[in-house]
Structure formats: C-alpha cells, structure tokens
C-alpha cells in the first residue's frame, strides 16, 4: 500500500480514490464528478457523507448551481479560474473553508461538510452542510419545573450554543471550542462571559481540558471525571444541567459552562455546595415560597442522609430518647421481627435501591407492574409476614422520598452513599458514631475545592453578602452582588441598589383626600 499523502493530490481521481481508501467503502459516502459535455475529463468532484449532511442544502445550494453551470464555463476556465468561480459565485453556502491537507479533508467530511475538489488544484473547498436527523428542542426530562421555560438542551452542540446565545445577547459571551478524544473528535465548548467570569478559572479549565488524552468522549460525564478537583469524594464538584436557563444564570454569575457535543447535559464549574440545592424555579417563583422550599430541600437532604441511621441508633442505643408511648409501639412492632434493627434497615434500603434501579432501567410499559409489586409485596406483605417492622418501612420510604427532593441528581446520589456509611456507624456506635461520621464529613467538605473555590463558600469562609441566596432566596432587587471569588472581583455588582418597588406617595384616585 502506498503512503498516505499529506497534501491533497494533484488529480481529482487520485484524491477520490484516497478518500475512498481512508473511509472504506461505506454506502453513505457520495462522490459526484462533473465533466464538460463530450469531453471525458472530470473537472469537479463533490464529496460528502450522506448521513451527516443536510441533503436539502447540498442539493439546492451546491449540486444544482454546479449542474446549471454553462458548458463554456467549464471550457473557458482553467483550474484556478474554476476554483475561484466555485468559491465566489457558485456555492450558495455561508460558511466555506479552504483546506489544503488531506487529513483536514477527511476531518471535514466527518464533520458533515461537503468537499469540492477541482482537478489540478491542490486546495479544496469545504462547505458547511452539517445536518441530518436529530432530536428537536424538547422539555427537559430530568429537571422539570412548573413555572419557567420548557426548553431543554439537545444532543446537538450547535443547538445548545444557540439556546445560550439567545438568552444572553451580549458581545462578551465567549465560546471557545476544542476537540477532545483521539477517535471521536468530540467538540467541547467552554462558554463564559468575558469580564464577569474569573479569568484565572477560565484558564484553569482550559488547561485541564487540554491535558485530557483519551480516545473518546461520549458524554459530559467523561469530561467531569477527567477535570474534577477530587475523585475520591462522594460530593460532586461540577454541576450538570439540561436547562439552558439554569446554565445561562450560572454564566451570568461568573460560572463557566462546558458544552459537550452529543449530550444534553452541560457542565457548570466552579460550584459550591449550596448550588446543588437551588432549582431554577426558585428564581421564577415568589421569594417567600422559594425560600421555604429551599429550607425543605436542605432538611430533606439531611433526612435522606440521616434518617435510617438515626432510627437504628436511637432504637438500639438510646431508647431513653423516645417518648414512652412511641417506644412501646416500636417495641411491639419489633416483637415479631427476626433481625436486629441494622440488618432490617439494610434489607429494606437495599430492596429500595433495587426497586429504584429497576424503575430506571426497565421499559416504560412495565413501570406500573413494578410499582405494584414494590409497594404491595415489599411494603405491606413484608410487614405482615413479620420480616420487617412497619416503622422501618415508614423510615425507609420517607428517606427515599426525601432523596427525590434534592434538585440535583449527583448530590442526591452523594446522600444515598453516605447514608449507608452512617447506618453502619449508627448501628455500631449509636449517636456517637453518627456524630463522628458527620464531623468527618464536614471536615472533608471544608477541605474540598472546585477549581480553587472553597466548597462551602458563602458559609465557610463566611461571606454575609452572599448568604442572600443560600438557605433562603432574597427578593431579586436585594441580591445586588454576584457570588464572590467565582466572578471577577471588579464585576461583582450585578444590578443597581435600592430597587425596592413602592407605589407612588400620592394615590392618584383620591388625590386631595389627604390633608
């Protein structure tokens, strides 16, 4: 086999055969040659991959103009003239690139571009015709809201970029693209607002992305694991979201988004612990209910992490803490159960995790069957059969429901994992064990960083100004500052002060009534 050329070969026959050689004889590779009438010599060749291009564009903007080219044009122009004609007059496509290496030709083809080769000319034209079937913009399935935009990101990076552009119409919005993945050549785009995002963090993210050396990136999860600050921690240090409004809000606060081609999940960094408890709906609803719901979420996080372990610890070590009447009824329920409380809790927790996983993996059509089996067989029957006590079923189900309240799935997963550790500690050392576990966790969290930003930021180190959007959400006009450290220090002010709305001093309807 001959050596692969670096430059585009001189004759189009050779180039065409090289392209076919490189890509294999796939049926979706279209090679179309044009020659002057009568004369056998092919002057122009179009190459594109059928499955990657938008056929309408190719047919109407490229194929037809070339076909309508008059006979004398073919004869009159030499290769240089023909090339210029193609570039300037014939091709009805906005984005055209001139490429002169063979590798670029292949690359460009795989991105869905159409390559136009002119015989005898060593530069090719790449017209952007990427398209093809893909999912439209739909409502995000993982983060639903009642009030707020219903658009979600899609698998197409162009669509995702446009969703963000449309939300932030600022010249300072920057998209920086790079290709990651030796084989997949996945486009990864960093999005930030110049002058608002902290420049040091932008640099750090770019640096970490450029050090990734892998063959494939299929989802933003790959990127997350390559660039996160700490791997051995249950807590996520990057946020992900399907919602353009949430990502746009993050960008406006100085965060940096990472869009990965092929997935609707966009990453957001740097993050602090409290961000995982914010839902984009918090900002669309009135601030009072938003604050209340946020407190409920923090409570649910604690419940989902602690409830089974507290139940185990209190019923096996600290019975004196339970009100007498409750103790008697708990004791009565335990009367017939065969296992110690911790074993019982583990059985129920594992059962629930199995049910939950089954619910995610199985086909939609069988969903109702699983819920019946889960609720009836495992809930009621297990209690009636005396395998587990009713109180334990209540504890485990509340824990499970509390877990779904946490808006961010990866933080919910963290509390799920920590729960098991705390259950073992609670079952062996009682409340003492749980407290030491929580201490350990807190120390670990205080040491975590997300791209240099302390994980517990507005709380530790304390920043009183930023507490307006942590445990409660203050009314919009009160939050005049962006989060410190995350945004550039000089761009901290977000909006004007004293914008509290008030009716005018005089009531126009009863003007003159007041003395």
């Amino acid at each position: 086999m001959k050596k692969k050329p670096t430059r585009i070969p001189n004759t189009i026959q050779e180039t065409a055969s090289w392209i076919q050689d490189q890509l294999g004889a796939s049926p979706d590779i279209i090679l179309r040659a044009y020659s002057a009438e009568g004369a056998g010599a092919e002057r122009v060749v179009l190459v594109y991959i059928d499955s990657l291009v938008d056929n309408d564009t190719v047919n109407s903007k490229i194929v037809r103009p070339i076909q309508e080219l008059s006979e004398e044009a073919f004869e009159r122009f030499d290769e240089r003239g023909l090339y210029a004609l193609m570039k300037d007059r014939i091709l009805g496509v906005g984005s055209i690139a001139e490429i002169d290496t063979f590798d670029h030709v292949i690359q460009s083809l795989l991105e869905g571009n159409t390559i136009i080769l002119v015989d005898g000319y060593q530069t090719a034209l790449a017209a952007q015709t990427a398209g093809g079937d893909e999912r439209g913009v739909e409502e995000p399935t993982s983060q639903t809201v009642i009030r707020g935009p219903k658009e979600g990101f899609t698998e197409n990076i162009k669509t995702n970029m446009s969703l963000l552009r449309r939300r932030i119409k600022s010249p300072k919005l920057r998209f920086v693209q790079q290709k990651i993945g030796e084989v997949t050549q996945t486009s990864v785009v960093i999005v930030y607002l110049d002058g608002i995002a902290n420049q040091k963090i932008v640099k750090e993210i770019t640096r970490r992305l450029s050090t990734i050396d892998t063959d494939s990136i299929l989802e933003s999860g790959y990127i997350e694991e390559f660039i996160q600050d700490r791997t051995y921690t249950p807590f996520p240090t990057l946020q992900n979201s399907e919602r353009p409004d949430g990502i746009a809000a993050g960008i406006l606060e100085g965060q940096i988004a990472i869009i990965v081609d092929g997935t609707p999940f966009v990453l957001l960094a740097p993050v602090t612990f409290n961000r995982f408890f914010q839902s984009s709906e918090d900002y669309y609803q009135r601030f009072d209910i938003a604050s209340f719901l946020r407190l409920i979420r923090y409570g649910s996080f604690l419940a989902s992490m602690l409830l089974p372990s507290l139940y185990i610890a209190i019923t096996t070590f600290h019975q004196e803490m339970i009100p007498t009447t409750l103790l008697i009824s708990l004791a009565a329920q335990r009367e017939g159960t065969p296992f110690p409380a911790i074993v019982e809790a583990f059985i129920m927790e594992i059962t629930f995790e199995v049910l939950r996983e089954a619910g995610v993996r199985m086909p939609r059509a069988i969903g109702s069957a699983i819920s019946i089996v889960g609720a009836l067989v495992l809930g009621q029957a297990a209690v009636q059969a005396g395998l587990v006590s009713a109180a334990m079923v209540i504890v485990v189900s509340f824990t499970a429901i509390a877990n779904f309240v946490i808006p961010s799935m990866n933080m919910a997963a963290a509390s799920r994992l920590i729960r098991f550790g705390l259950m073992i500690l609670g079952g062996t050392f009682g409340l003492f064990g749980i407290m030491s576990g929580l201490m350990f966790m807190l120390i670990h969290m205080a040491g975590l960083r997300s791209f240099g930003i302390p994980y517990l930021l507005p709380v530790s180190p304390l920043s009183i100004n930023n507490l307006k959007d942590v445990f409660i959400r203050a009314p919009w006009w009160r939050m005049s500052k962006r989060p410190t450290l995350v945004s550039e220090p000089e761009a901290e002010t977000r909006q004007g002060k004293s914008q509290k709305p008030e009716p005018p001093n005089t009531d126009p309807a009863h003007e003159g009534d007041r003395g």
């Binding site: 019923t315 103790l327 009824s329 009565a332 009367e335």
Partner: protein, 406 residues
Amino acid sequence: MTGKMVRIALVLALAIITAGCWDRKELNELAITSATGFDVQDNQWIISYQVIIPSSISSGMGGAGSSSGHSPVTVYSTKGRTIREAVAHSLLESPRRLYFAHNRVMVVSERAAKKGLSPILDVYFRQPDSRETVNMLVTKGSPKRILEQLMPSSRISGQGIQEIISLQSENGSLLPAVKIYEYGSSIVGDARSALLPEILVSGSPDVTTTEQTNKTSQPSKLRLGQLAIMKEDKLVGWLNHRESLGVAFITNKVNTVNIAFSCEESGDKNSTFELLRSKTKVEPKQGDGGGFTISIAVDAYGTLEETECPLDLHKPEVIAGLEKQLAKEIEGSIRAALLASRRHKSDVLGFASVIHRKFPKQWEAVKDEWDDLFPMVEMETKVSVTIERVGVSNKSFKELESPEGE
C-alpha cells in the same frame, strides 16, 4: 495512595468491629419498666417492677398477638441485700433486661420510708439509665400491691399514677408532685425535711385482671391519700389535706385550687372560690430575745365559682366580706400546717432556708439546735384575697327562687 487508603479503611473496619456494638440492645430485649416499688423486710430489699408488655398494648401490625384480653403489664418482685443486688436477681427469672429509663413512678412502702430512703437515692443518682425525674410516692401497704392494681382509663397504671399526681399538683395543689431530685435537694437542704404524697388502693377486692377493668365501675381504685413528712430521710408523720394546703401556701407552691368557705361569719361551707394565682412572701424577723418570727403575706386572686348566699354581688362591700371570709379560711389552713409541723418537730415549711438566707451569721449559731428551736418560731400571717370575677351570674340562684326576686 490507594495502598494508604486500603490501610485506613482496614483500620476503620477493625475499629467498628472491635469497639462497636458493646452496649447495643434491641427493643425486644428490654423489659420496659413503668413503675417500681421499694419495700423492706427482714433487712432485705424487696423491689417490685411493673413491666410493660408492648404487644398487648399496641394494636399495631407486626406484633405477635392482639391487644384485648391480655394484661398490659406484668408485675414481679425480687429480693436482695442491696437494691442493685435485688435488681440483678431479676435476671434469674426474667428473659429480658430491666430497663428503667422510662420508669415514671416509684412507690416506697411506709416501712422502707421509716428506715430511710438514701440507698434508693444513691442508686438513682448513680445509675445512668434511671431518671431523677421519677415521681416518688409512699404507700402504707405493700408497693407491689399498688403496682398490681389496674386502671381502666390508663392501660399502663404506672403512667396513670404519674398523670394523677401531676394533674393534682397542677390543678389541686393539695398534694405536691415530688420528683426524686426535688426530694433529694430538700432532704439535704437546711430544713432536712421533705414531703411525699401517699398513694393507696381504696376498696376491695383488687382489680388486677383486664376482665375486671372491662366493667363500668371498679370495686377498688388507686387514689392519692395524705402527705408524708420525711425528716432526715425518715418518715415521721402525716399531714391531712387542710394541713398540706397550708404548707403549699407557706412554701408558695399553690397553683390552682378550689377552696370551700362560708359566706357568713359562722355557718356551713356553702361557697367555693377558685384560686387562680397566689403569691406568698416570707419574711423572717429576729426578736430581741433572739427568737425568730416569720411573717407570711399571701396574695391570692381568683373567681367565685359557687355560692348559696342571697348576696348582691354588685356591691363592693359584699365582695370585701367574702374576701375576708376566704382569707380567714386560708389563714386557718396555714395555721394548721404550722401546728402540724411543730407537732412533728419537722421544718417542712422551709423556714430554715428562709432564715439562713436573711440572717446567715445568726443561722450558723442556731443551725445545730434548729430542731429544738423550730417549734418555738412564731408566725404572723397576713392573707389578702381578691375576687376578680364572680362568674356570668351575679345573683345566687337561691335569691331568684325567693318570692321577692323577679
């Protein structure tokens, strides 16, 4: 890095296995005690326990057996030379470990009270699982007998006894609810005296089966009796209700109480006053001869609840007359309390600490002979009663009945 992590994980796992679980006790290994009884016989402690049977009380699912028909509690006694020895002997007969953290009441026999309660207090203050907030009661009979008596309204009678005594002390003020720590602190106080309410079974035969509690009326029931005077940790005598109300007034422990009185200078008690608030000021004075006089000023407020007298309650002088009658009634019970405590030579009125606080130096001189001095302490009382309301009717019904009425 990973090697270090594995080693740390191993050490942690080892710590959990070796150091954990030593005091773990499942709920179904516990004998939850709701009441305990202390008795003494031939120098041996007889401790009785009222142990809750959870499955017969809770009607919840999962428990073996349902609620009705089964006795909610079981009572048994053990003997030993010391209290904890007796408790340890319970392991000879019971499949479960006794658990005292939910114990509500402690019933002491008169015999044990006469011998002294300090061993019980020592055990309670020393043991982490027994609470100092347990209510103490004395019985003239056998404590076990009290624990065996069932109550129809409260399935766990230990809990029921506790509710009776706290309800009484909050709304009746005739008998105080005395918790172990309160008893302990008053017995080591200056007066070295304390009071304990009495509990008894009135009537016979005993109600000890659930079939008996199914009847609408029980032949016998638990009720509170008198007030025991404990002096230097030993029972020395009893106070009746009138005397114990007097003690409550002097020690400023009156909450709400209904007082029956006569609306005239003499005659039957035909009216009731509900005292809602009362405040007592105790002020000691030292006379020239060195003897002490205690002046007691009671300020009481409340409502007229009932009267049979044909009085015009619109007139302030009529109300003032009633107030005077009431003050006389309260003064009488205060006086009775003083006489009773003099009789028993026991300073249950708390005069010792009042004098100690006001005259610390003089107290040092007299504290050793306080027992002899106390009966000679004089008392001045000044009771002021204010009838704030007379209810929604301002004439007695008797007046309406009479022909002159409208």
